[in-house]
Amino acid sequence: MTFNWDLVWSSFGPIIGGAIAGTIPLTLASFAFGLLLALFVALLRLSPNKVLSAVARFYVSVIRGTPLLVQLFVIFYGLPSLGVKLDPWPSAIIAFSLNVGGYAAEIIRAAILSVPKGQWEAGHTIGMSGAQTLLRIILPQAARVSVPPLSNTFISLVKDTSLASLILVTELFKNAQQIAAFSQEFMVLYLEAALVYWVICLVLSTAQSALERRLDRYVAH
């Protein structure tokens, strides 16, 4: 096998471009919406109201029990038959956000439960409301515990966004695929795509370590 070096160099442009214009914003937007949704779902799960808690449990169960690709296809190809026609980008962001929401909800729920009950009581005794105690006392401590598992979710999401190529979103993998089909250099293009995903994830792992160190400053070692 001979390497077509010209193709290697010329194709990096579109692949990295796909990462910058597709993969990265898709990941960031989906993760941000997904986290908000997850916090909401976690609070529903922890609610003493049995109906709310059951609704949240059902949602988490559906998200975790079905393939992400199927979720993506239901939203993009399925919803139009109900009269809801969404463009590729909104479809992808909705599907990935819902997915992150399901997985991260369980992480956040466990992290909230890991904060000792005495912290709620201490918040209450200084006069804080439940919401104030949650925001100022409980969530900052839960955040520390949830950074490692949430980072896993985040890094998985980076790679999962490649599925968006199947609903016509122009992103990293889609560009690699197109150049590969055109040039017939499958090995070169797909290895390049893999390399760029890997580099993104390496950067994220480094950021995760830095964040963990920062949040660990108030813990005995």
């Binding site: 209450h124 200084i126 006069g127 100022r136």
Partner: protein, 276 residues
């Protein structure tokens, strides 16, 4: 119980007939408690006697099933019906036989502050932030003023140099002194201590008891759940001995601890003093 004058204006707190069950387990069977301004009341009794539940009820950390709690001048008028927090000019009357709601609980917490057995400091905040969090976030006092106040209080307990430390960097005794300062900074009418030295190594107990004793001498009104009978005898004006969810005996510390009248009190005092 010793009869109290219902018109006694020096009463800070008056609880009547507090009852509480956890499921089928009845922990309070009608507790009365009066605390006068500047008085130190020690609640003692075997574990499971309900003493901690009484204390927590005064801070709304447990909500009694029945009975009344009144603070301030409305003590004289008795609890108002309806269960609403009749809070005005520092007065409060709560009737727990009906739901008191969030406002009732919040009104209790405006008037009392708790020092916990396990300190329960906020681990993600520095010592100074731990102390100013309530005054700034809840009482909406200016940050600079709250910090100056906090530093003065920290200086008094010998911890001004720890203002920027995190709780994990402090010894248990230091953490508990910060816990006490956090409660003081709220300027409550009533300080509540839940076994404040039970989690401490023996050599650290003294420094915390010394702070509490100073507060007593300064005239703070306090209710202390404790197993330190020697300390109770020194510091408390009144000792209340509880067992099985009722008050068995109460009176001046020297009498209840020195010459208990009730058989159960005698046994308890004897057993604890043997252990020490």
């Amino acid at each position: 119980m010793s009869p109290t004058d219902p018109l006694d204006a020096s009463l800070v707190l008056s609880a009547r007939g507090l009852t509480k069950s956890f499921g089928s387990n009845t922990v309070l069977r009608g507790i009365d408690l009066d605390v006068r301004r500047g008085q130190v009341v020690a609640l003692i009794g075997p574990s499971g006697s309900g003493k901690t539940t009484v204390l927590r009820s005064l801070n709304g950390l447990e909500v009694p099933d029945g009975g009344t709690v009144t603070f301030g001048a409305s003590v004289a008028g008795g609890a108002t019906a309806g269960g609403s927090a009749a809070a005005s000019g520092g007065d409060l009357a709560l009737d727990f036989s009906v739901p008191v709601g969030k406002r009732g609980i919040a009104a209790l917490r405006d008037r009392s502050a708790m020092v916990f057995q396990h300190y329960n400091l906020f681990p993600h905040m520095t010592v100074l932030k731990n102390v100013t969090e309530g005054p700034v976030q809840v009482q909406k006092r200016p940050k600079a003023e709250a910090e100056a106040d906090a530093l003065r209080l920290l200086t008094r307990v010998g911890l001004a140099d720890k203002r920027d430390a995190y709780p994990f960097q402090l010894s248990g005794g230091q953490q508990q002194r910060v816990g006490i300062v956090r409660a003081l900074a709220l300027k409550p009418q009533l300080l509540l201590f839940d076994e404040p030295t039970s989690a401490l190594d023996p050599e650290l107990v003294g420094e915390v008891l010394a702070v509490i004793k100073e507060l007593a001498e300064e005239g703070w009104t306090m209710v202390i759940v404790t197993h330190e009978l020697g300390f109770a005898r020194h510091v408390a004006d009144e000792v209340v001995f509880m067992d099985g969810g009722v008050v068995v005996e109460r009176g001046p510390a020297a009498e209840v601890l020195g010459a208990p009248r009730q058989e159960r009190t005698k046994q308890f005092v004897k057993r604890i003093q043997h252990d020490v």
